[in-house]
Symmetry: C2
Subunit: 199 residues, 2 copies
Amino acid sequence: MGWCCDVIQELARRRVSARSFRTGGVEFRAIAQILEVARQAPSGANRQPWKFIVVDNPKLKSLVRKACEKGEEEYHSRAPRWMKRWMRKRNISPIKPFLTQAPYLIVVCADTGAPYHIQSTWISIGYILLAAEEMGLGTLTYTPSSVSELRKILEIPEKYSPEAILPIGLPTGGKRKRRRSLKDLIYINRWGKAGSVDI
Amino acid sequence: MGWCCDVIQELARRRVSARSFRTGGVEFRAIAQILEVARQAPSGANRQPWKFIVVDNPKLKSLVRKACEKGEEEYHSRAPRWMKRWMRKRNISPIKPFLTQAPYLIVVCADTGAPYHIQSTWISIGYILLAAEEMGLGTLTYTPSSVSELRKILEIPEKYSPEAILPIGLPTGGKRKRRRSLKDLIYINRWGKAGSVDI
């Protein structure tokens, strides 16, 4: 039997995190298709703890960006010196232009009352990333440093936790980051026991 | 432009959680292919916080099963009466035959020192589920109620948290669980504002 998962492998390998976008060019229908995939994800006790707020209103995107950048600035200013150096080296700044550039933001919220709500919700985010890649759309999993303002702007109730903001759109760049080799990640039967992992 | 993600959609819709397996019939190469996909997942600061222990040794699977069932029994006995009823109704018991039936268990561990290690690791689990589905292999995301014994058996260091055990193999059944409709999950621009979500 020929074991293969060529399509998923191709999509997973091709995908890069997008940090800049064309502002338009995507129909809402594409976002709905992607979320149609997300809702199929398995979840703890089948509670399907996710809600997706699709933000395309420019004023709201602007408010979301401002709130997030304020949170990032506070985070950056509180960071220890080594972390500031680390972030500077990687060009990580509190400025998040993708939050207004991308035609859509999907704000993914998780029902904190459901078992394994974080785990389940991030499986569904994994599904979203691959579905968007199949469509040729770029995505980023941005996790805001502070969500209190975001909650107010989007009227997210206390019970739900905003897990991530996923800007989605036609990407205008993005660099592939290196991955560790498979044999550094697989152990056979016990921690630390490497096996032959030719694929 | 025709927006579509038919392949991912088909896989996501087709997949059901497998709780029983044929004991053999899967080459190790298939597992390596699946983990080749998992390692492509994005992660916080590209730390790739995951390690995968592939357990195929029958004695070890047996020990893992015993340890997990012991943890489940303790969990069940401590559960409040309503939860016991809830579990009985759903045939959820402390007995986990799939842990010895499945030809492989992938024990997914996350480096607790990496930022967003849980989130990143569960994206990679989402990738695994779809890759296995493309191969026609069944999977389950089993989260043990207690991991202290599991740690000892597989020699998992303190720094790593066992996030899930994924039995993988040829499934011998599995029922599709209902999903909520898309329009119950999507809000437009603000919490609670439904939109038209024809896809």
